[in-house]
């Protein structure tokens, strides 16, 4: 019987079977950031242990560093400086490659890694960050871990991993015009729920997935963790190889040819079977928005706020009511047209060059509504530079957006900047949890296009209908 892509990657990395479904897996790449990586490096050093594969380990500043122009080690987050300085010191002591503040390689870890070909097809990659699943879009086995596991990976270049079950989500057909990978990710969450892939690695497959460019695939895989999946993965293909060739850490010369030959075999065999197989119709996906406090609380923008549905088995009535109360919404209420206070474009989900281009195409020649606070944070310093070379920064600034330095920024509230209490934010990020973007802030997840169209209108707006708004 054939193997799934995941099984091929697992089998080629198992050093030892530890019994009970646990394997000792070789780790090819470790990524760290100042939020959770510094503590792992310090703890490792305090235990008198070294980083085994220091040249395969990379560190960046993204989570806590400010994104305001002219930033330094000082942060708006009250104690942020110590995260930055401790991580820098520990990374330098261990001899790791660090993309520090001011480095052209700096940016959100899941943006810079594909951008520099740190992640490669067939590689295992870990980072103490749940959105590491993003990088599965490159045909890698990439997953998020805790800091203690990161210490283990640093010290041994291995992890003791409980083998997940396999799930395939096949997306047939093509996404409609104006429907984005983010909408597909939210559609999948609405359908399968925030525990829908718990215990599984999700392979995204099918015509609609194959048709996505790399940045779209990264967006789709980014939200696998919101399904509670072990990770997400997409088989590498010519789109992947074209993207990687010539990037900073990609193999070159004869190594490139050898790698390519190996990577071409890294797909699920035709006769491979998955523990769970789901099919999604791409044509049924519409621009989506979240109404509640979990990414599974997603609906098409033209649908009303849903009433509690016991049959869904997804939420208790209490959880549904609690989410509605937090968001100050009522069942049956229209989401399109809901007034917003702020708009945010950024994060490891949607802050790559193509995201900014598509948002800018909507913003060009428009101004955001006067009462809307609008912020754009490029995913990496490189994305920012490319966007500026194309003049996208002018479009954002002329529309009334703040144009920031690269980082995670207001995707989450760390004690520094906040959108404010009861402020309603339409955001291209990945989590709409209570107080995620600031104490009592109300977050509506959507695509960058929907964020841009809504910012102009001052109300939640389907980007396909923006001329009518």
């Amino acid at each position: 019987m054939g193997k799934t892509l995941f099984e091929k990657l697992w089998d080629s990395h198992v050093i030892a079977d530890l019994g009970g479904g646990v394997g000792l897996l070789l780790i090819d790449r470790i990524l760290l950031h100042e939020r959770t990586g510094g503590v792992a490096l310090e703890s490792l050093r305090d235990a008198g242990r070294d980083v085994l594969a220091s040249r395969q380990t990379f560190v960046t500043m993204d989570h806590i560093v400010d994104t305001l122009p002219g930033r330094t080690d000082r942060t708006i987050m009250p104690t942020g400086t110590q995260f930055i300085t401790a991580t820098r010191r520990a990374a330098n002591e261990a001899g790791l490659t660090l993309f520090d503040i001011g480095d052209p390689g700096q940016g959100i870890v899941h943006v810079i890694s594909p951008e520099q070909a740190i992640v490669l097809p067939g590689a295992t990659l870990v980072c103490p960050d749940s959105h590491t699943c993003t990088q599965g879009a490159m045909g890698a086995l990439a997953w998020g871990i805790g800091s203690t596991e990161a210490e283990h990976a640093l010290a041994t270049a291995t992890l003791r991993v409980r083998k997940p079950k396999t799930m395939r989500i096949t997306v047939n057909g093509r996404l409609g015009i104006g429907v984005t990978p983010k909408d597909l990710a939210l559609h999948i969450l609405a359908r399968f729920g925030s525990a829908g892939a718990n215990g599984h690695i999700v392979e995204y497959a099918g015509e609609a997935v194959r048709a996505l460019d790399i940045e779209g695939r990264l967006t789709l895989c980014n939200m696998a963790t919101e399904l509670s999946a072990f990770s997400g993965i997409i088989a590498a293909d010519e789109t992947t190889f074209d993207y990687l060739q010539g990037r900073a850490y990609a193999p070159t010369g004869a190594d490139w040819d050898r790698a390519l030959a190996a990577w071409r075999d890294l797909h699920s065999d035709d006769d491979a079977t998955f523990d769970v197989d789901h099919v999604v119709d791409a044509a049924a996906v519409a621009p989506m928005v979240t109404w509640g406090t979990s990414p599974q609380h997603s609906v098409a923008l033209d649908q009303p706020v849903p009433a509690f549905d016991a049959a869904s088995g997804r939420d208790t009535r209490e959880a549904h009511d609690r989410a509605l109360a937090y968001m100050d919404l009522k069942p049956g209420q229209s989401l399109t047209g809901l007034p917003i206070d702020a708009a945010f474009i950024g994060s490891c989900t949607n802050a790559r060059l193509s995201d900014l281009r598509r948002a800018a195409a909507i913003l060009r020649g428009h101004r955001v509504a006067p009462h809307v606070k609008a912020i754009c944070v490029p995913g990496s310093t490189s994305v920012k530079a490319q966007a500026e070379a194309e003049g996208l920064d002018r479009i954002f600034i002329d529309a009334g957006f703040e144009w920031r330095e690269a980082g995670c920024s207001m995707c989450f509230f760390a004690g520094g900047e906040s959108f404010g209490q009861r402020q309603r934010v339409v955001t291209s990020t990945n989590r709409n949890f209570e107080s995620r973007q600031g104490p009592e802030t109300r977050s509506h997840l959507a695509s960058p296009e929907t964020v841009a169209a809504s910012a102009i209108a001052g109300i939640l707006t389907d980007p396909r209908n923006r001329d009518a708004a």
Binding site: T36, T132, G146, S194, E434
Partner: protein, 201 residues
């Protein structure tokens, strides 16, 4: 880090039975103020536990502030507990506060791994059983026997992979366990470097 070994615990179980409790709720990012695994218990469930953001005045409506559960060492939770951010601070905060076992219908995988590495037993049980347990205290979690039981004699088995059980019972350090295989790892990497030289920068 040395972890306290776990064999058998009888303690009060605190019910916080909501689905999809995320790690932002377990420990808000704003409560993670230092590069440390310690000093986090005060921030546990801070958004629900206190009357104001950043404050420390207990909200009497939240279960943690009910004196009946002041000595709770077991947490009863809903489905997909610990979803969201991978922040291990969630497990560190729970452990520092004193929770040694969490009973839930399911756990987020990253959070579950973080529990095991910090001496917290993740026990998966059906939602109805957890509701039943919530009505009766104290609760006994026996990791050796693999059971959860109540004073009236009712008991339920639970599954945990041998590797995790061993680590929790012995309080073992995973790095030390793996280091015993360092020769195998070195040999594997050397052979792999010939097959996939582009991985070894």
């Amino acid at each position: 880090m040395t972890v306290q070994p776990f064999d058998r615990l009888t303690a009060t179980a605190m019910p916080l039975i909501r689905d999809n409790i995320d790690t932002d709720a377990i420990i808000p990012s704003r409560e993670m103020t230092s590069v440390s695994k310690k000093g986090l218990a005060g921030g546990l469930f801070a958004g629900w536990r206190y009357t104001a953001i950043g404050g420390r005045d207990p909200d009497p409506a939240f279960v943690m502030n009910d004196p009946h559960y002041a000595h709770a060492r077991i947490l009863l939770a809903g489905r997909n507990f610990g979803c969201g951010s991978s922040r291990e601070h969630a497990a560190w905060a729970l452990a520092e506060y004193g929770f040694r076992a969490i009973l839930a219908p399911s756990f987020n995988p990253i959070f579950r791994g973080n529990c095991i590495r910090n001496g917290i037993v993740p026990v998966e049980l059906d939602a109805q059983i957890i509701t039943q347990i919530a009505a009766a205290n104290p609760v006994t979690v026996d990791l050796i026997a693999g059971t959860v039981s109540l004073p009236d004699g009712s008991a339920w088995p639970f599954a945990l992979e041998a590797e995790a059980r061993e680590m929790l019972v012995e309080g073992l350090d995973a790095i030390e366990l793996t280091a015993k295989r360092s020769a195998d790892i070195a040999a594997f990497r050397a052979a792999d470097a010939r097959q996939r030289p582009w991985i070894y920068l």
